[in-house]
Amino acid sequence: MKSQASAGKKVTFAVGATLAFAYFFPFFLVFVNSLKLKYDILENPLSFPSPITWDNFQQALTKMEFFRSLTNSLIITVFSVSLLIIFSSMLAYYLARTKTKSSKYIFLGLVASMIVPFQALMIPFMALFAPFVSWNNRAALVFFYIGFGVALSTFLYHGFISTIPTEIDEAASIQRKLSFKNYESEYRVVLIWMPERMNLTVANKLLKLLEEPPKGTIFILVSEDANNLLPTIISRLQTLKIPDFNAEDIVHYFGGITLEKAKQLKNITDADLGKMIKIQQDSEGILDLFEEFSAWMRLVYKMDVGGISRWVDKISTMGRKHQKLFLSYAIKMIRECLILNFANSSLLKTNEKEHAFISKFSPFIHEENSVMIVEELEKSIKSINRNANAKILFFELSLKMVKFLKVKRKFALK
């Protein structure tokens, strides 16, 4: 195996070396012949020069005024390239960062201009500019080079700038704003949401500011997942943990809902207030979720196909939102069952009714089937999002659940 690989390597090297020789040989030939006298070139172009002569070079230097043209090229190159770099990087920055229709069209125009052949411009170009510019004008040449080069270099810069995350711009703008002095009030506050999502370069950029904030500046970083913050950032902050809402808070917030319902809401939404409000607005019959779930599980357990089909008819008439809510509620309940199986009941988030059901139902949920069940439920949520037929979906799901509940655990824990 190894010898085969090295043989392949040898072949590649041989091919590569031959090609490299072929690519370089013309230069070599020209160089060798430039050192020859004229008759020698004509007689044997491949041989080494017999009397080496530098006459040709000398003649070229004097007759062509080589250095003058070299200076011209140098001046034009230096000026047009440096101006192009400045202009096109600025233009590309503007076009990449300003997401408006006009900037999109300007960019498209620049790109499209790259397929315009020079020949299509050459003749009117002459006619337009000949009256204004003498053709020996270096400044004019620099100007034209910029005009012809700006499209390509802007295109390249645009591609590059688009890969730089905008957060870096934001960090830079924070830095800039904080470099101003407080004017009207004593304090200013920088509020950063979800700092754990900050990318590494940005985090490092802000690090110095966080370490030594300018006078009268307070940073508040609001994170839902402080463990994912950079340790260097955490060490510069005071951590303040804000606990979840408890059920009483929720009752107080919504007003006029029962404690039981609040608990359930909290359980379904992981104490996310936004989701709670949404659910509250969308459906009033939250408590029914439990009834529905327990009824479904009983039907599935009894393998009552007629009952299942009636149940499916009922749920498929509900809205998609309700179906999704139901499925995510089912996932939560499966989770509760597992917790009851493996840990003590103090970790449960259920209310009394649910608890009563779960304590009877949990023996059927174990490490073997819970994964499958949850996967299947999640898949169903996705399918509902994609407009699946609810009747077919729920019927199939129920039949699968029948199967899952029959799965025996391989070994007993207790």
Binding site: K9, T12, F13, V15, G16, A17, L19, A20, Y23, F24, P26, F27, L29, V30, N33, I41, L42, E43, N44, P45, L46, F87, S88, M90, L91, Y93, Y94, L95, T98, I106, L110, S113, M114, I115, V116, P117, F118, Q119, A120, L121, M122, I123, P124, F125, M126, A127, L128, F143, F144, I146, G147, F148, V150, A151, T154
Partner: protein, 300 residues
């Protein structure tokens, strides 16, 4: 009152936006417009007039285009250019991809090889043309007469068919190094885990090349094909320096033909209309090529 305040605020914001636009984009866009857009639009307009390079007297409709199409030389040039574009497109990309494969293999000499392949690109087309003119006209002919090689006894540049291949050889030699760089970036951007996975699955090197590397770097092909297509249509300096269009203007590519028509014979009107036709042909060809090769690109 509130309404007036809002209007004022909106005005301030839009003024700020305009200021930013002018600061960042004003100058380059102005230069771009003067150098490219104005001549382009103007040139389009000229094709409908009796322009003779200095002044226009009246609009003459499509007769410039009619004259262009009636010119048999234009048709033969177009055909020659199309052939040149197709052959050079295929050869340049095949060679360049091969070079890229060699250079990205695990050879220890890959960096120096890469330099060798790229060198022809560092030198302008005119110089390359002169170098190869020397090779075709004197070096090879002298050698052929000395050692009796039938193929090279007469200079290749004196014969239309052979001059075509001379053009192709020089073009491939010149631009394959550049396209190689594009293919290298494509090859390097393929994640190693994909290649490792294919190796574990037992794919042969050839299979890996065709089923994994090429589909994953299709974007590099799109770019390289586009650039060679455009380069083929616009080839000018190698053409001038190597064959100068000869023998008897049979190896003129479209760019050189337009130049000769306008500045050599003073037919500015037809020259410009031929240039517009060329632009349309290039744009259509590029559009077709890009749409087709985009279809083969894989989203990662």
């Amino acid at each position: 009152m509130i309404f007036l305040k809002a209007v004022k605020e909106a005005r301030v914001i839009s003024a700020r936006k305009t200021k930013k636009f002018l600061k960042f984009a004003g100058l380059p866009l102005a230069i771009f417009t003067i150098v490219l857009v104005v001549p382009f639009v103007n040139g389009f307009y000229y094709t409908f007039t009796d322009w003779n390079g200095f002044k226009t007297t009246k609009l003459i409709g499509f007769s410039n285009y009619a004259d262009s199409f009636a010119d048999p030389k234009f048709w033969s040039t177009l055909k020659f250019t199309a052939l040149f574009v197709v052959v050079s497109l295929v050869l340049v990309n095949v060679v360049a991809f091969g070079l890229a494969l060699i250079v990205t293999s695990k050879l220890r000499s890959r960096n120096i090889l890469r330099t060798f392949f790229f060198v022809p690109n560092l030198i302008g087309g005119v110089v390359l043309g002169v170098i190869w003119q020397f090779i075709f006209n004197s070096a090879l002919v002298t050698l052929a007469n000395k050692y009796d090689w039938e193929l090279f006894k007469q200079s290749w540049l004196q014969d239309t068919n052979k001059a075509f291949w001379a053009l192709i050889i020089v073009t491939v030699w010149q631009s394959s190094g550049y396209m190689m760089i594009i293919y290298i970036t494509g090859l390097v951007s393929i994640e190693n885990d994909v290649l490792e996975a294919s190796q574990i699955d037992g794919a042969s090197p050839l299979r890996t090349l065709f089923s994994i590397k090429i589909p994953l770097m299709a974007q590099a092909f799109t770019i390289a094909l586009f650039l060679t297509l455009r380069g083929g249509f616009m080839a000018y300096d190698v053409n001038v320096a190597l064959t100068g269009g000869g023998p008897f203007r049979t190896t003129e590519l479209i760019s050189l033909h337009i130049f000769q028509d306008a500045f050599g014979e003073g037919n500015f009107g037809t020259g410009q209309s031929k240039a517009v036709i060329m632009f349309i042909v290039v744009a259509l060809a590029a559009l077709v090529q890009v749409t087709i090769s985009k279809r083969y690109e894989v989203q990662r």
